[in-house]
């Protein structure tokens, strides 16, 4: 099964829509609760990173027999130092974003913790590709 969603940079009102849709589909498929929770956390954080830090993006979800693969590809500034960005507490979020309670620098660590496989590719000035895989038990 394949699902696709668009994300607009700066549009916090619709943040969480893809996560919510994917959660519904996984529930319908009878996927284990713990696995759904992990995927929802990781996808939400990846989504919000596009909204908060990039210009626009696309979420591509592929659900197979034994795993779910989520690709979040954005057009944006890219991440200059991925190791630094992965550190808990590191954030370049704007004041406006921080006022809303985002920008704690916990999103990427949350993604790492809640996925079985994580691959981040980025190009400065072009964008970032986040690939996340979770296996069903």
């Amino acid at each position: 099964m394949k699902l696709t969603y668009n994300i607009q940079g700066g549009d916090f009102t619709h943040a969480g829509h893809p996560s919510s849709e994917v959660k519904k589909v996984l529930k319908q498929l009878g996927i284990e609760g713990k696995t759904i929770k992990n995927i929802v956390i990781a996808l939400y954080e990846a989504e919000v990173n596009v909204v908060a830090h990039a210009w626009k993006g696309v979420v591509d979800v592929e659900i197979d027999e034994n795993k779910i693969t989520v690709l979040v590809n954005d057009e944006g500034p890219g991440i200059p130092d991925i190791d630094l960005a992965m550190q808990a507490g590191y954030s370049t979020a704007s004041d406006k974003v921080r006022e809303m309670g985002f920008g704690a620098g916990m999103g990427l660590p949350n993604i790492k913790k809640n996925t079985d496989e994580l691959l981040i590719e980025t190009e400065i000035g072009k964008g970032t590709k986040v690939k996340m895989v979770n296996y069903f038990s």
Partner: protein, 111 residues
């Protein structure tokens, strides 16, 4: 303990999401950092916060939280109220600081 019982005991304001008042509370989480709640709050908990924008309801729904409690008499904007009603997750208001309301709810849930 049901959300409605907590509302009654503490005299909380119910702004919206009344259809969720019957749900059972398993615990609570206090945070104003959304990624912290995303990563660490657990299903069935009430979330105590000073954040009033609608992303709070999106997170409460994604995390299967049973209610959101706004501290210091903060009032939610219309968009948050709407979202709370759509998700059937009660949005509550407390005339207490975060410290006070967390202490009171903790005591009620752990008698």
């Amino acid at each position: 303990m049901k959300v409605s019982e907590l509302v009654e005991k503490l005299g909380l304001t119910v702004y919206s999401g009344r259809k969720g008042l019957d749900r059972e509370i398993t615990g609570g989480y206090v945070s104003d950092l959304l990624s912290d709640v995303m990563g660490n709050a657990r299903e069935g908990e009430v979330w105590i916060t000073l954040q009033v924008h609608q992303n709070v309801m999106a997170i409460a729904s994604l995390k299967d939280l049973v209610a959101v409690v706004l501290v210091n008499n903060l009032e939610p904007p219309e968009s948050t109220v709407r979202h709370s009603n759509e998700e059937n997750i009660p949005l509550l208001g407390a005339n207490f600081s975060t410290f006070e309301i967390a202490g009171k709810i903790y005591q009620i849930l752990n008698p």
